[in-house]
Symmetry: C2
Subunit: 276 residues, 2 copies
């Protein structure tokens, strides 16, 4: 993989859009989330409104369920919702759009007829349903909800930290992906109550703040770029993972699962990072 990434050109990468990037500030450091307004515009709009109203600041991570999710929110509804946050349509999937690039994986999938990548995100598609949806891979960010499919406003968010719980696909709105800082979430103590919620005697991990990158001074931003998933470089990366060239591997898998493809991210070139 290192070799493949070395061989990329600047055109194979794109910077994160500051207007659709979240910084979750924890005591251990910053988690960077790229939002997916193309797939869940209503939920992303809610999350941005909540963020700009400082709704998340001083909330805590309240649930860490092993091999499943890390979740934050305000379970006791102690923080008032800002104006403009209402019920939104489910956004669990969307019509397949011809103009959205789709880099299809050749090896099939247990859960969906077609899988691949669109705009840096793992997606599944059904040609017969003409629907596309984001897939619950490691690092994906979803909107917690109750039984009502319209009950997830975006005020309660979770991150997948285990083997992809793909049964959640099409049942929850996914709104983005953690691009950097997963280890700040995955190494948190697991909660002792049912479903990994922290008990009253366990200290939840405080969230110092959540900010939209565009609202943070340029000098304090994490200037990251991610590989373009519609680039030849990404196709080469996939191939290098389907058939690992390293001498360690005696039998090549010859195949790859959607959630095993790394969507590479790195620090932007300093010159690019400091241009406005």
């Amino acid at each position: 993989m290192t070799e493949v990434l070395k061989a990329t050109s600047p055109a194979d990468w794109r910077p994160l859009d500051p207007e659709n990037t979240l910084y979750v500030e924890l005591s251990g450091g910053r988690v960077v989330i790229e939002l997916a307004p193309g797939f869940a515009p209503l939920h992303v709009a809610n999350i941005k409104t909540l963020t700009r109203a400082r709704y998340f600041d001083a909330l805590s991570i309240i649930r860490v369920q092993d091999n499943y999710v890390v979740q934050w929110g305000d379970p006791d509804n102690r923080h008032p919702m800002p104006a403009g946050i209402g019920k939104v349509a489910p956004e669990f999937d969307s019509p397949t759009a011809a103009h959205v690039p789709f880099t299809r994986l050749p090896d099939g999938d247990v859960y969906a007829p077609e899988v691949g990548f669109s705009d840096g995100l793992p997606v599944a598609r059904s040609p017969s349903l003409h629907r596309t949806w984001l897939a619950h891979c490691y690092g994906m960010v979803g909107v917690g909800r109750d039984l009502d499919v319209q009950s997830g406003s975006g005020a309660e968010l979770y991150v997948v930290i285990g083997h992809a719980p793909r049964h959640l696909d099409r049942n929850v709105a996914l709104v983005g992906r953690v691009v950097k800082g997963m280890e700040l979430l995955t190494a948190l103590p697991r909660g002792g109550a049912e479903m990994g919620f922290y008990t009253k005697t366990e200290a939840p991990a405080p969230i110092k703040s959540i900010r939209i990158a565009a609202d943070v001074p340029v000098a304090e931003r994490s200037n990251l770029e991610v590989i373009r998933t519609d680039s030849p470089a990404f196709t080469a990366l996939i191939e290098s993972r389907r058939n690992r060239p390293e001498e360690f591997f005696k039998v090549a898998a010859g195949r790859i699962d959607l959630c095993n493809v790394p969507i590479a991210a790195r620090e932007q070139h300093p010159a690019a990072a400091h241009s406005p």
Copy 2:
């Protein structure tokens, strides 16, 4: 799942065999590993010899790579190997044995022609190769090795802590599965050096001891039983996960990935636990 487990009968469960169960004692508690002598007899024999020689005691967890593995061993070879530990055959796969029960999953697999469960373990099979191998699912325990396929003695072990790295299948000897205590491994701080190794300034997690359950006084054992994967109860469990009956799910997956099937374990009934 709770409902399915409630409906099981005692015959749907089997106790762990104390002679093939490891207790890894960490400062946070005990990790219980069920060994798989049926799949990797030579490696399991080595691990038992190493354990009984107290080889692992006072070693440390030296590597925690996010979304991949936790690993322990003696990278600087400071602990002498006990007598009888030599090179062993790879044991990366084995001939498919007709007498071994195989509960096949109906939904296919990205990596292998057939997948399912044998003796409480996730396995993959190739009818054309007439070979069976253990699959790198979350919680599986493998033998670290160098480039030489015979270099893994069992002195260096790893546990899968992320999305199943199935590309390792047939390239490494898997020797068992963590039945209890995964959260003691998964919540460890990630290592800051390449491949998740701890740097010199990061404190590795000490291993107090590793013991074979049979060598531990009965009163100090973890008396666990696991669901029999060739039982109707387990088939019902699989079905309850393929099509979740809970009201939360609006779209049933109708399918399941090998590594998403939970192999249930629980405390033995007290009466059974205290019989010798």
